[in-house]
Symmetry: C2
Subunit: 220 residues, 2 copies
């Protein structure tokens, strides 16, 4: 009898079903958080979307805060690798330009967010939400700041005459312009004829490249 119980426990350490359930929950949380924000989302909404019992969300995701952090961190880790990989790969073809650095940061993100994948689309809105709220300071710090530091160093190499203040400001402006494409693209499209994703990304790169380069031309 007792051995039968033990055997059962051993055999389903993390069962296949639970793995599926856990990632269904994370996906649902990603979608709901991105649509309604942290406070607007409820565990129950998430459970419904995941087609899972309410209690299971807490069981697999922990508290609501922990679940939120987990959702942000999951793709942030992928993103950190994609961005630094892009940087390393481009470095093999000689010294970097300003546009190279910006492109290695922006493109891996936007090409996923603007493309069809609904999960990345949701993630884009979610990050725009996280980034605009000082309350998520700590999440930003853990998930994104390490990569940002790497790219700031690269900017400093490319533009040695520009002060750290200028570079920091330019980088924040760049990130916020990038995120505006996640949350406010409808506004751009409403102002004129909609344009292709690719054109939009090039326009963004033009904008930020020129903006940061200006600091080099007019040191402060």
């Amino acid at each position: 009898m007792a051995s039968k119980v033990l055997e059962n426990q051993r055999q389903r350490a993390p069962s296949k079903r639970s793995l599926e359930t856990k990632s269904r929950i994370l996906n649902a949380a990603e979608a709901v958080f991105s649509e309604r924000g942290f406070d607007g989302a409820s565990i129950r909404d998430i459970a419904n979307r995941a087609q899972v019992n309410v209690a299971l969300v807490q069981h697999h995701g922990g508290t609501k805060d922990a679940l939120f952090f987990h959702v942000v961190a999951r793709k942030a880790e992928q993103l950190a690798i994609l961005r630094t990989d892009a940087l390393i790969r481009r470095k093999r073809h000689g010294p970097l330009s300003l546009r190279d650095v910006l492109s290695c940061f922006i493109t891996p993100f936007l090409e996923r967010v603007l493309q069809g994948d609904p999960s990345w689309r949701a993630y884009g809105r979610l990050i725009a939400h996280v980034s605009a709220d000082a309350r998520w300071h700590e999440i930003t710090e853990k998930c994104f700041d390490p990569t940002v530091a790497v790219f700031l160093e690269e900017l400093a190499v490319v533009l040695p005459s520009v002060s750290r203040q200028q570079l920091g400001a330019g980088f924040v402006f760049t990130v916020s312009a990038m995120l505006s494409l996640c949350a406010s693209r409808w506004r751009i499209d409403a102002m004129a004829q909609p344009q292709s994703d690719d054109d939009l990304v090039q326009t963004l790169l033009d904008f930020c490249e020129a903006g940061i380069a200006r600091a080099a031309a007019r040191p402060r």
Copy 2:
């Protein structure tokens, strides 16, 4: 008896006390909404901060949505006047430069938000929040789009060779960079030595001016 009731009602049509109460409520709502967002804020928080009974918030502000709209619209009206006035005043001194147009849009806002006035500081964060969320589409449309349309026209005059798509994108990037100073200034300050408000605004204007001017140099 009956005449006494009528007299009481007449004498305090909108009494001085009620006017004070109403604006205390709006100020409190502004502060709480800006700190916690729409969903994170509660009518009770607002009532407490206004030192007023819970029921009074509903009485003077209506539903939570209506109160939110009212708070956003209140300063938006002032802002629309300040911005267009700045435009008109500068037009008297000859034709506008690109930087003039951007400055007339950005400066009236940022000089209030970055300055000490806590009410405008709160409003800045609030607008950053509103702007990052498609849910407030309608509020944006009513409160800000008319002014934006005016400034887009001015941009088109200054840069006739640039497509509406490019101008629209450049304007959205500019607005989002501007709003990043409301919500994410701590991030800039964390990256390097903090800089003065004035330097920061000039850096922003340099960035956006160069960014939009680039579109003129490289038409798409």
